[in-house]
Subunit: 134 residues, 4 copies
Amino acid sequence: MKHRYELQLRYSDSDQMGVVYHANYFSFFELGRTAMLREHGIDYYDIERRGFMFPVRDVDCTYLKPITLGEQIFCETELVELTKVKIVFEHKLLDQAGEIKAIGHSSIVAVRKDDFRIIRMDEHLPDVFALKDI
Amino acid sequence: MKHRYELQLRYSDSDQMGVVYHANYFSFFELGRTAMLREHGIDYYDIERRGFMFPVRDVDCTYLKPITLGEQIFCETELVELTKVKIVFEHKLLDQAGEIKAIGHSSIVAVRKDDFRIIRMDEHLPDVFALKDI
Amino acid sequence: MKHRYELQLRYSDSDQMGVVYHANYFSFFELGRTAMLREHGIDYYDIERRGFMFPVRDVDCTYLKPITLGEQIFCETELVELTKVKIVFEHKLLDQAGEIKAIGHSSIVAVRKDDFRIIRMDEHLPDVFALKDI
Amino acid sequence: MKHRYELQLRYSDSDQMGVVYHANYFSFFELGRTAMLREHGIDYYDIERRGFMFPVRDVDCTYLKPITLGEQIFCETELVELTKVKIVFEHKLLDQAGEIKAIGHSSIVAVRKDDFRIIRMDEHLPDVFALKDI
């Protein structure tokens, strides 16, 4: 189950090395996984309105090739693990020729909006938990 | 009543022109006016906890000289107008030699956090409204 | 000559007021005018490769309604002035229903990449200068 | 050899969860390691002027507690590995009470500015390579 999403790069994404600043890749990864969830019927902003949020617990990224403004870049997202309390995604950034620019992972947990307490998705977010079967 | 605040520039502030990206100046202006209010005993985050916020209504900026990472930059803030519903600030960014890099203005209004409705500061935020006499 | 461009909002665009942070609007305006120039055959990144850049000289923005993540937002760009040394754009951000969220302006100048010296577009960037006739 | 640096948080760092957006931590880590190098006599911007850059090769971060605007946050940086081609840093973000908010790592490589080719620091950047003995 891989999902592909084209990114809209901004001038503000660049830094004085002349390439996209490395921290922004995590913002791209989030665009990718939000789009993937939406394709499976899960609206992240609706989940927030229901009183839950998905803060990030762990992330990593390996930078293989720099990204330059003007390139067409896609974020490919794959759900690699889903437990009662955690979702792990793998993210790849690729150019139009399919060359991989970066590979990263994000591990997110579901929490209650009020107090940031971790909740069980099988109980509180069954629609999200059902993603484990896709 | 001018307030001076030294900025901490970040690598992510730069763009591929090799200078600080122009939109970030408004983030600096906000650092400046928050620091100025704090010096007058007004904690912006405390105001949010009391149920009010200060969204921006109008801003402008004239860019005179580029800012380069490694420069020591100060934000000078001046309160130029304060009415029952609005505060207007003038912001200058200067380097260590006093050269002016940019001049801008922000006009902020006080609103209720729940519904973004404009409120009267003389009624709901008397400590902020009292700034008109400094 | 109005150009319309759909923005890709990011989670990182939001702030703790729960709306899109005001400084980011200028990044959106830049997306809008870059897309507009591209539609008229002018590739901004190619201009940089030719040794010129378009730093911003003046900007302003009036914020009418907050923008919330999940909204579909368009940047409408109009070229309002073009002289030998300057281009002025008007930018509007609108939602899908056509409600105007913000109106702003950017005035950009063409400079040489090496020394940030202003150049005459009729001499050095005739393709850009020709936009005055559209 | 641990280095401690106080961060200047910005309103733009927050997101609609009401906490500092996770990608920004990597911008903080970079502030921390740049300040640490500066304390050891190495000016990062001077290295760029000499024709070299330090792009990031790998990063990771574990988020332990959210960071809220208004908190006093420090970035503690430690050099954990230095070879001829690579420097690895460990970064901790802590509050005033010493509570650890996040732990991360950055692995940076030295490259030539023109072509992003990896260079040997013992040959081209002996002052940086000498950090291995501190």
